[in-house]
Assembly symmetry: C2
Homo-oligomer: 230 residues x 2
């Protein structure tokens, strides 16, 4: 949303580091971000950390409150449902247009990014969600919408998707859900998209997004039930 050239600056590095950690469940939702910890951990000055975190707040991943610092955005089922609805509306709109207007280069990009995704394992050897997979997943979904004319719509979709990732990162269950064939869902979306089957692809994408949310909601309800009984 903001960067132009490939120059590297400390703020960017720290921004990327914290963002990756956020999106891989490295912080408790709602927990305070101790800026000084980052100063020590990354060996940079406070100003750098502050600017990086300010950007994350702009992305909606971090909550900034005056005189009280920054906290990881707190997660609620209501917001997740809202987010999902917004995503479905916007992403299906953009996908439909991609299918209608996307050129051959875009088609190729879809195939390529799906291939990349299909060949990246969801989990690392020690069972953690893999950063490479997250990246590939993001790239695949971005590419699906890249045929659409509207840069703005794509940007909005990417922003909302990032917020969703915050939720997803909090359920390791997702990767272990036996009732779903996530790779298959991706394959279906890719195939229908490339086949220019607009209603089919749109429906597959909708189902994909909503299934993930449903799994998360189930997970959240289990968690609160446990907490209530235990």
């Amino acid at each position: 949303m903001t960067e132009l050239l490939g120059k590297r600056t400390r703020v960017q590095d720290v921004y990327d580091l914290i963002r990756d950690r956020l999106l891989s469940g490295g912080f408790e939702p709602g927990s305070k971000l101790r800026l000084n910890d980052f100063v020590d951990a990354y060996g940079v000055s406070l100003s750098v950390v502050r600017e990086a975190v300010t950007r994350l707040a702009g992305d909606g991943l971090v909550q900034a409150s005056p005189q009280r610092g920054f906290a990881v955005m707190s997660l609620t089922v209501d917001d997740l449902l809202d987010l999902t609805r917004a995503r479905v509306l916007i992403e299906t709109l953009a996908l439909a247009e991609s299918i209608r207007l996307g050129n051959v280069a875009w088609e190729a990009a879809v195939i390529a990014s799906h291939h990349e995704l299909a060949n990246t394992p969801m989990l690392t050897a020690d069972g953690e969600t893999d950063l490479a997979f997250a990246r590939a997943h993001r790239a695949f979904h971005d590419t699906l919408l890249a045929g659409c004319q509207s840069t703005r719509l794509q940007a909005v979709a990417a922003e909302l998707r990032a917020c969703s990732e915050l939720y997803q990162s909090w359920s390791t269950h997702l990767a272990h859900d036996d009732t779903r064939d996530i790779a298959g869902e991706h394959r279906t979306i890719a195939e229908l998209t490339v086949a220019r089957d607009e209603p089919g692809a749109v429906e597959a994408l909708r189902a994909h997004i909503e299934r993930t949310t449903a799994a998360l909601v189930r997970y959240a309800e289990e968690s609160t039930a446990e907490r209530a009984s235990g």
Copy 2:
């Protein structure tokens, strides 16, 4: 998108000041922002200015480029058209839902904010666009969508609308356009909305947004034509 409580901090003050100035055409589009000027003008430290401007970059009003500082987002007709399309899609979606689901309190808020808008002059005594009008206009459009369930959709709409304001602030012509009855357009939208005429209100809103864009595009073409011939 980020603030929580009503605490005032220097960063916020400066953010508001620069934002207001941005949205009232106080800077050339694409021009560099001299951070040190703000330091002098507002009597705050550079860190404060930096953080404020970083936020504006997050809002998409300012372009940040590493090692080169910040510039006012540059305006192009293509982007304006894209922005308009995205806004129409999202705002009409939200308005339709508002009309379907909004309660009486929302209805009252629409009437109230329209009344406020209708009684705020567009221009100050000396012909400048009035900050109070801009605020009332923003509030009116926000309220129209406030009946909709989706906070996220409302936030996205507000963000995109802010970007549009950047364009609008650059045409003083808008306020002098004889071919349009802007107050009438607002009244129509408000009336159809309160009357729960979904297709009518949606259509009126679409026309309102697109007319503004059309006027801006006409203005842009005149400007470039002048520049080419003169």
